[in-house]
């Protein structure tokens, strides 16, 4: 699966797609593949404020519990309620329908420090067991 060119990426395999002051946040294809079948997503509460690298959600696969880290600081303005009924959307369409939250970005500099697609693709391929 190709990584979208207009996203920014973290070393902990989250992405953020910036639209003006807001950013759509989710897990990358690499992250969903490593986790396996996702059966539960603990969504953040709308209105909650996170700093960059705070745990904003918890994703559970059959065997693993995994924290998700905020790619940027800001306030949660929307969460993907569809994940309550169908957490497998994170597996099926991580960069699309499997998004987790929309963040009102507090500090654009947070995003500037993230990886672009070329850097992330290299980082991901070096991360190991992806085949």
């Amino acid at each position: 699966m190709a990584y979208p060119k207009d996203f920014k990426y973290t070393k902990t395999h989250e992405y953020i797609k910036v639209n003006g002051k807001e950013g759509v946040v989710g897990l990358t294809n690499y992250a969903q593949h490593e986790l396996g079948d996702i059966v539960f997503v603990e969504l953040p509460v709308v209105g909650k404020v996170f700093k960059q690298n705070d745990v904003f959600a918890v994703v559970e696969s059959v065997k693993a519990v995994s924290d998700c880290y905020a790619p940027a600081g800001g306030k949660v303005v929307k969460v993907n309620e569809k994940l309550v009924e169908d957490p497998s959307l994170v597996n099926k369409d991580p960069h699309g329908d499997g998004w987790i939250m929309v963040l009102e970005i507090a500090n654009p500099a947070d995003v500037n420090g993230l990886m672009d697609v070329a850097t992330y693709e290299k980082f991901e391929s070096e991360a190991g067991s992806h085949h």
Partner: protein, 372 residues
């Protein structure tokens, strides 16, 4: 896979690679946690047929004139009622009633027994048995783990699959019975055991490690028309858990008796010939169990996990042994140890998930039972 070079490989290791398994370190063994995906593999075993590499399991033979007296002292179930070809699930205990291991004992003859023990406990078990064997000069305990490959074929279509590979009439082989010296896929001297760790019908086949890959490929070929898939450890765990089969290290350990783990139907506390741990179990029966295993479902949203705390009215009362999303029931369920006074169907308690109490309710076990 990285840094897995130092791990022990089963005779079927090449099959994990060939069939795209996600190989992990499982207690020092290189084994696949999944092939196509845990949920899909789980469903395949419930509905069709799946193949497991379980060569990491330990095997031992117990032979000699004193084989039965030795085993009667070793385990908590009365083996004097066994007939040739029959298998009993049982436990070796410490003097305090805690569990050394749970195991399967097959009787092939009055002086000829075959044991299957847990991979993680194999070395400890063999040492424990050999120590006891000093009291029985006419018994010989032999660890044959390294000379034995074990494959498990599980699911409603397991009999149809395996029957294509052997002239032995599998309809004659009853549940918890085994037959040895059978030819399977042209391989002589295999053992076929009608047992498993999934809650489905199926078999465990034991053979010489040199024939393990040949057997694997023959079973995959034979099962192709039935939709067979290789199954990893992830689904093995969710399958056994739904069927309420215990896992050593979770439902059983050195501080837990089989009575506490709800396995009393496999224990003969009043066995006429004494066994190690008998006095401790008698005391548990007389004085009441220190703790009791229950099955529960989550009422609130959340997945219980191994070692999460269980509380009632803010007070800690126990812990989760196994918890998971149940693919068959599509619910989040778990096992927990709680005081006997709390162990009633319908009783509610909290499971502490990431510092938050989430409501759970005790339900009947097994969570899943196959239709016969």
């Amino acid at each position: 896979m990285d840094n897995l070079g130092s791990l022990r490989k089963t005779p079927n290791y090449d099959m994990h690679v060939k069939y795209g398994g996600k190989v992990v370190d499982f207690g020092g063994w290189a084994l696949s946690v999944q092939f196509s995906g845990i949920l899909e593999e789980h469903k395949i075993v419930r509905e069709k047929v799946g193949l497991f590499d379980v060569s990491h399991m330990g095997e031992a033979t117990v032979v000699g004139e004193q084989a039965l007296p030795f085993l009667q002292k070793l385990v908590s179930r009365d083996l004097s009622t066994m007939v040739d070809g029959q298998i009993y699930y049982t436990h070796m205990l410490y003097p305090n009633g805690g569990t050394v291991d749970d195991l399967m004992v097959t009787r092939y003859g009055p002086t000829d027994y075959y044991l299957v023990i847990n991979a993680s406990n194999a070395a400890k078990d063999v040492e424990w048995m050999q120590k006891l064997a000093h009291e029985f000069p006419k018994v010989k305990v032999t660890d044959i783990s390294a000379d034995t490959a074990e494959l498990a074929l599980q699911g409603p279509l397991a009999p149809a699959t395996l029957q294509k590979l052997t002239r032995y009439d599998l309809s004659k082989l009853k549940y918890y019975h085994a037959v040895r010296d059978v030819e399977v896929a042209g391989i002589p001297k295999c053992i076929i055991s009608r047992t498993g760790y999934t809650g489905e019908d199926g078999f465990e086949v034991f053979t010489d490690p040199r024939n393990a890959n040949k057997l694997w490929e023959a079973i995959m070929d034979a099962g192709q028309e039935f939709g067979i898939k290789p199954i990893g450890l992830g689904a093995r765990d969710t399958l056994r858990f739904e069927a309420s089969m215990p896992l050593y290290g979770q439902e059983l350990d050195e501080n837990t008796s089989p009575l506490e783990a709800g396995l009393g139907r496999f224990v003969n506390v009043d066995k006429p010939t004494p066994f190690i741990g008998q006095e401790a179990l008698k005391k548990q029966v007389a004085q009441g169990l220190p703790k009791k295993l229950v099955g529960f479902e989550m009422v609130d949203r959340g997945i219980p996990r191994h070692n999460y705390k269980v509380a009632k009215n803010g007070k800690e009362i126990g812990y989760v042994t196994t918890g998971s999303y149940s693919p068959t029931l599509d619910r989040n369920i778990g096992n927990a140890f709680v005081p006997v006074s709390e162990a009633k169907i319908g009783n509610e308690f909290d499971v502490i998930v990431r510092d938050r109490p989430l409501k759970a309710r005790i339900i009947k076990v097994p969570f899943y039972r196959r239709k016969k």
